[in-house]
Amino acid sequence: MMGEFMQAVIAKYNYWIYITLMMIGLYAMIAKNNLIKKIVGMNIFQTAIILFYVSIGVKKGGTLPIVEHGHGAHAHAVHAADYLNPLPHVLMLTAIVVSVATLGVALALGVKVYREYQTLEEDEILARIREK
């Protein structure tokens, strides 16, 4: 029983790590008071999802998704089982780009908020708004 459980834990350890990271990120986004901290949490959250996708692409016995021998090697039959699944990698390139784009906009907004209120703490800003 215990062994099976451990087996299950080990067989999917990447997934457990990704869930942990995602929870960390989500918690930071909801619970943190500092706007930049929230952005950090947001990035951790996004990275966790990328980890998840990359884990899908893992294939035991597979190598890097670059066809060996390159050009002029058409004679060689390529077997799918020999290479890692490239599709999640492709998707995650996109996701990384999206995350950096979001980061840029978020930071710009953070800077703009700071320019207006001279603080990045959400509760202080809200107090400032209420004063008005």
Partner: protein
Amino acid sequence: MKVVGLIIALLAGSLLVYATADFPPLGDPNSPASVHVSPRYIEKTMEETDVPNIVTSVLADYRGYDTMFETTVIFCAGVACFLLLRVYRREEPQERLYRHVLTGVTIHVKAGKLPPSPDFERIDSAWTPHDLIIKTICRLLIPFIQLFALYVIAHGHHSPGGGFQGGVMLGASVIVLAMSQDLRTAVRRLREKADALMCATGVFIYAGTGALCLLLGSNFLDYSALAPVLHVDPIMARSHGIFMVEVGVGVAVMGVMIWIYNNVSSMGKYDEGL
């Protein structure tokens, strides 16, 4: 809020843990993800696109449409940062800092006046020590970074890398310049207008390649339509098409990275950076 956050995070986490039970084991070669769609990419990439790096071929050809929008996302971020932060009405600071290049003496000059002699260089208002080593090494490094970046773009067909990574590195080289010298130097090298035009051009190259295929009578982004123009067979045309869009991606990403950095680090004023 802390408790709420914890509860939500735990709820979401437990839902995901619950679902993980039905996943195929990590690295299972017979999992649906490994046997349904992806095998074709692996097995046919050479015959269909002549690109050994499967990630590149999928990225820029099979799912090239995604990548076009990925580049657009970056472009959006650049434009959004610019729109949000850029301020045109410049408030002249009360005084500027100038440093005598030879002696390292720093002087304050009132707004509107010029330093006493041309030997003075302007420095940012947050005083930084004069650091010859960093400046020189960065100057030395930047060409190599850029060269490597170009290699990454050009060699994306065969090795890890491609337009995106290369573009980021190109952008980073300029950012390094801006950090080691100052923002004004970097902006002098790459004017804001040129930078913005570069962003637009880069994505335009990508989408334009796609539109070119459309004009040549194929579906959007079907690079094989370029064959008659490039005088190659359709498979090579795909390979070339991938290269074209990779270049576009590189240009766009480089421009946007610099654009965002400039805007964020100077709060849109374009005078003082990090």
